[in-house]
């Protein structure tokens, strides 16, 4: 048997077997050693690396603070809203399949496909991020899409909080307080880049306009974070641990009384409609504290539209409207104050000793400008003149020529200085965005016109709030409030303090004094007496019959502006500013109001009628003393 013989020689050499065994043992030893190193020695290190690679710190948005009015009525609340998201990495790779998915998503959500594609194309982040494609889609649509998510790779819906704005009755209405409250909207790419360091997310919202913008920091709160485990595709799988608890934003209580705001809005609307004009402002304030009780700028806009995600057409309509509904005319625009500015000129003249309270000055039908050639004169509104007048009478009758003389006697520096003392020419510092500073007469103003100095005629006109003087309605009201309260120029307040979730004040913000006016109490009192005289014997006696609880005091104003009509008549704004002390001249007024109507070219002072109507409603008076306007045909 040859094969039996072979048994001894079939074996490979012993040496090679030993060598092979040594190699095998060595290889297994290396593998075992490597495993020991990876798993036992460095195991914790790799475990940490692995954990870091599959976990991510995700922000937990803090609920945005609510906003209440001063009575605790909720006016900005959070409601759930549904957003349509796309994750670029999960969308189909081919263009046709991708568009089919997006078209289906557009159909289900009721959003135009083009808008989804635009949002997707505009996105600049990682393809693993969720891109908000459409906000504020309906609940039904959201549920429908959620059901079909299997057929819609890369598409998802998420619920998050959005703002809803309410009126004084609790009804959803964004027009009453739009300029004050503002709205929230998605942050822009540039804002994200600026603020990502302080915790803003790419799809975050931020306050726009109003308190939503100016109190963004307080309302936003502090976002928390949690550690999320993700699968290899980047989808969150579970929450591992809460790292930082989110701190909810502060609930704010406005100084605004929504009911007062409503009255101010409706009475102003009436006046504007009756006069056939579009733009007007009413501001109501507590002169003692500077708290703004109402601030109406018409026309207004609907901030709830913005909160829900405004359509391009609606937004364009707001932008194209020549009356500029998106602007808060109460603070963002400046106008000549007209005769209401005589308060400043009068106070300055008294305090600078230009006149005494008893001194009587001649008045004219037309005031000859001192250093101008003969015949160059400035008319009084009363072309006959009033004869000699003391300052109180001149203020009550609103004599222009009296105050031309005061202004010329004061000079540019002193008149301008007093205007600044009363808060003109600088922002009041109310915590609302877009406030304007205004203009006061000064040499610098003349330089800006390319001249060495202010013309004397301009100086005289500045004395009656024309030409080189431009103010915001809020500045004017605040100046009157400072005189009304005995000389404290207060910082206008829009937020009263912080509140609990039910609208109870928990932390009061202290009123802030800008400065004590550098005017003697007596001179201030003289101007208050003058303002009372306006109502009782002067220019605005028709409002005097209102049985308001106190000694209504105030001043009318008519301010020409722009270019003359073909008849040589300038269009004009009308002003009325008033406050209600307990008695004539006292400093205890708790209500001050200004109304401004833009280009209200009618017979009669529209603003005066609006304030009259407001007071009737505000004090619930059983009187209706409103007058009809004759709407001028020119």
């Amino acid at each position: 048997m040859s094969d039996l013989e072979g048994t001894t020689t079939a074996r490979p050499s012993r040496a090679r077997f030993v060598a092979a065994t040594v190699i095998a043992v060595l290889l297994f030893g290396i593998l075992a050693g490597r495993l020991f190193q990876l798993q036992v020695v460095d195991g914790a290190l790799y475990a940490a690396q692995a954990a870091a690679a599959r976990t991510i710190e995700m922000p937990i948005p803090a609920p945005r603070g609510l906003i209440f009015d001063r009575q605790g009525r909720p006016i900005a609340v959070n409601i759930p809203a549904w957003t349509l998201y796309g994750r670029p990495a999960d969308l189909p790779a081919t263009k046709s399949a991708r568009n089919a998915v997006l078209a289906q998503a557009a159909r289900l959500s009721g959003v135009a496909l083009g808008s989804l594609l635009d949002r997707l194309a505009a996105f600049r982040g990682s393809p693993f991020e969720l891109v908000p494609l459409a906000t504020g889609i309906g609940r039904e649509a959201a549920l429908l899409i959620a059901e079909e998510e299997e057929q819609l790779p890369g598409i998802s819906v998420g619920a998050e909080a959005r703002r809803e704005y309410l009126d004084e009755t609790g009804a959803r209405s964004g027009e009453l307080l739009a300029h004050l409250v503002g709205y929230t909207g998605p942050i822009s790419q540039a804002e994200f880049e600026d603020r990502s360091a302080v915790g803003y997310l790419r799809d975050d919202v931020t306050g726009r306009d109003g308190v939503e913008a100016s109190f963004e920091k307080e309302l936003r709160g502090t976002y928390g974070s949690e550690l999320i485990e993700r699968d290899a595709g980047g989808q969150p799988v579970k929450v591992l641990e809460r790292l930082i608890d989110p701190v909810p934003g502060a609930n704010l209580m406005l100084t605004i009384d929504a009911r007062t705001q409503r009255i101010a809005t409706e009475t102003l609307k009436w006046g504007l409609e009756a006069a056939g004009v579009a733009q007007g402002v009413t501001i109501v304030m507590n002169p003692q504290t500077g708290e703004i009780l109402a601030m109406v700028s018409l026309p207004t806009y609907d901030n709830d539209k913005f909160a829900a995600g405004i359509s391009a057409a609606d937004y364009a309509a707001y932008l194209d409207d020549p009356t500029r509904p998106l602007r808060n005319h109460a603070i963002a625009d400046i106008y000549p104050p007209g005769s209401t500015f005589k308060l400043v000129t009068g106070l300055a003249a008294l305090d600078e000793g230009v006149t005494t309270i008893a001194q009587r000055w001649p008045t004219y039908g037309c005031y000859q400008i001192p250093d101008a050639s003969a015949g160059q004169c400035l008319f009084d509104w009363n072309h006959q003149g009033f004869g000699p007048l003391s300052i109180v009478d001149a203020y009550a009758k609103s004599s222009d020529t009296f105050f031309y003389q005061m202004a010329v006697a004061l000079g540019v520096d002193r008149l301008g200085g007093w205007a600044q003392e009363l808060g003109f020419g600088e922002k009041s510092g109310v915590r609302l965005p877009t406030e304007a500073a205004g203009t006061v007469v000064s040499k610098a103003w003349a330089h800006a016109q390319g001249r060495q100095d202010v013309f004397t005629g301009e100086l005289a006109q500045a004395g009656i709030g024309q030409n080189a003087i431009a103010v915001t309605p809020l500045q004017l009201l605040n100046a009157y409030a400072a005189v009304a309260n005995g000389g404290h120029l207060m910082r206008p307040m829009i937020v009263r303090g912080e509140a609990d979730g039910e609208g109870n004040l928990t932390r009061k913000y202290a009123p802030e004094l800008i400065r004590r006016l550098n005017a003697s109490p007596g001179d201030l009192r003289t101007m208050r007496i003058g303002a009372r005289e306006v109502i009782t014997s002067g220019h605005a006696t028709n409002i005097g019959a209102l049985r308001v609880p106190g000694a209504l005091s105030g001043k009318t104003g008519t301010a020409e502006f722009g270019t003359p009509t073909s008849q040589g008549v300038l269009p004009f704004h009308s002003w009325f500013v008033a406050y209600v002390p307990s008695q004539a001249g006292t400093t205890d007024a708790e209500l001050a109001i200004v109304t401004f109507t833009y280009s209200a070219v009618v017979r009669g002072n529209v603003s005066l009628e609006v304030v009259k109507y407001f007071l009737q409603e505000y004090f619930n008076l059983d009187q209706d003393l409103r007058r009809e306007f004759q709407v001028n045909a020119n």
């Binding site: 094969d3 039996l4 072979g6 048994t7 020689t9 079939a10 074996r11 490979p12 050499s13 090679r16 077997f17 060598a19 092979a20 065994t21 190699i23 095998a24 290889l27 297994f28 290396i30 593998l31 075992a32 490597r34 495993l35 020991f36 990876l38 798993q39 036992v40 460095d42 195991g43 914790a44 290190l45 790799y46 475990a47 690396q49 692995a50 954990a51 690679a53 599959r54 485990e229 993700r230 699968d231 290899a232 595709g233 799988v237």
Partner: protein, 377 residues
């Protein structure tokens, strides 16, 4: 007649006394281990194959493989020696067919589909090439030390190696070369010539590398520095290392490996199955698997040592080389000390072709054992 029959029966019974029950035991343990790991690797609920359907498939393949194992064991392996040439032609035919009509799997043509079932002919061709080489080397018994032996064996292997390399299946090509070197060494080829061949292989390696596709080359070098491209080509290596390391001493528990369950190991049930073992069963689990492999190889070596003729011994050394190489390279790859090449972990990696081919090969080994038994009348 009855005496003859009784004699035959007795002889057969005695022969089967030589049957290596330990070999079978280790195989069954390994296959079972693989099934459990495959189940865990596919455990995750989200979409795709459920773990169970893969387990069922593995059970079917194992049944086919074990049937082939017993068939091969009961046939006298000497038969194969006479069929060496046709077997070689079959190997070439299968590999050629794969190149021509093969279908894409991870970017490479590695399998052809028959009646919906994918066959990776490269797997069976590894085992068949062991037989072919065993026969060739046995026939060169008297001239084993000559250069012509090495050249002849090299040429025999070169053709199929080239074909799998063209698929491109770098892994299988490397296995062919490993089998060649292992069998030459164990069959007594001249150590000088062999060193020269080994040196030449090392010298040619860079050329082979330059001929690779970009993605293959990148993957190949990840083991040197996985942080080079952790999101791209080296993603698998980085994630595999994280998974293996995360296992620690005792592991995270079956079906509880986070890297595995969250899909960070893209081909976790195939070539990267060991990462699941390491992550979920820890160092201990990995060592148990290594121990099973060591025992298996010990059995293979002992069959080779006890073989009656060079052909049988060569089959054992060839299969031993195959197993040792695949185990080392696969585990070395997932532990970051070997380049990433598509080499399955024997009996553990999910896949019918590998399972059936290897069980058939182990059947041949068993046949060598059974038919080398010396009756002690």
């Amino acid at each position: 007649m009855s005496t003859t029959a009784t004699f035959v029966e007795a002889r057969t019974a005695r022969r089967w006394r030589a049957f290596d029950w330990q070999l079978l035991l280790y195989l069954l343990l390994l296959v079972g281990f693989g099934m459990v790991m495959g189940y865990s690797a596919n455990y995750q609920a989200i979409g795709g194959d459920s773990g169970l359907s893969q387990t069922v498939k593995t059970l079917i393949w194992t049944s086919i493989g074990l049937t082939l194992f017993f068939v091969a064991a009961s046939i006298d392996y000497h038969w194969l020696q006479t069929f060496a040439t046709p077997i070689y032609l079959v190997v070439l035919g299968l590999l050629l067919a794969t190149v021509v009509i093969g279908r894409n799997l991870f970017g490479a043509q590695m399998s052809i589909s028959v009646a919906g079932v994918d066959f990776q002919f490269s797997e069976i061709s590894k085992v068949l090439m062991v037989v072919v080489l065993a026969a060739f080397l046995a026939s060169r018994r008297e001239r084993i030390g000559r250069l012509s032996t090495i050249v002849g064996a090299g040429l025999l292997v070169a053709l199929p190696t080239f074909l799998v390399y063209r698929q491109p299946d770098l892994g299988t090509a490397m296995v062919f070369v490993a089998i060649l070197l292992g069998m030459l060494f164990m069959s007594g080829a001249g150590i000088g010539w062999l060193s020269l061949l080994g040196g030449a292989t090392v010298a040619v390696a860079p050329i082979a590398v330059t001929a690779l596709e970009d993605y293959q080359r990148q993957r190949l070098f990840c083991f040197l520095d996985p942080s080079a491209d952790p999101q791209g080509a080296c993603y698998q290596v980085v994630q595999a290392l994280n998974a293996v390391g995360s296992g620690g001493l005792l592991g995270q528990g079956l079906t509880a490996g986070r890297q595995n369950q969250l899909g960070f190991l893209p081909v976790q049930s195939t070539d990267f199955i060991f990462t699941v073992v390491a992550e979920e069963l820890g160092y201990i689990g990995g060592m148990i698997l290594l121990a099973l492999f060591a025992l298996l190889i010990w059995r293979v070596v002992s069959v080779g040592w006890g073989a009656r003729d060079p052909f049988g011994a060569n089959i054992a050394t060839g299969l031993g080389s195959l197993l040792l190489f695949q185990i080392t390279v696969n585990i070395g790859m997932v532990t970051g000390i070997m380049p990433v090449t598509g080499i399955p972990l024997p009996f553990i990696t999910y896949g019918g072709s590998s399972m059936i081919s290897l069980l058939f090969g182990m059947g041949l080994l068993q046949s060598v054992r059974v038919h080398s038994w010396k009756p002690t009348f």
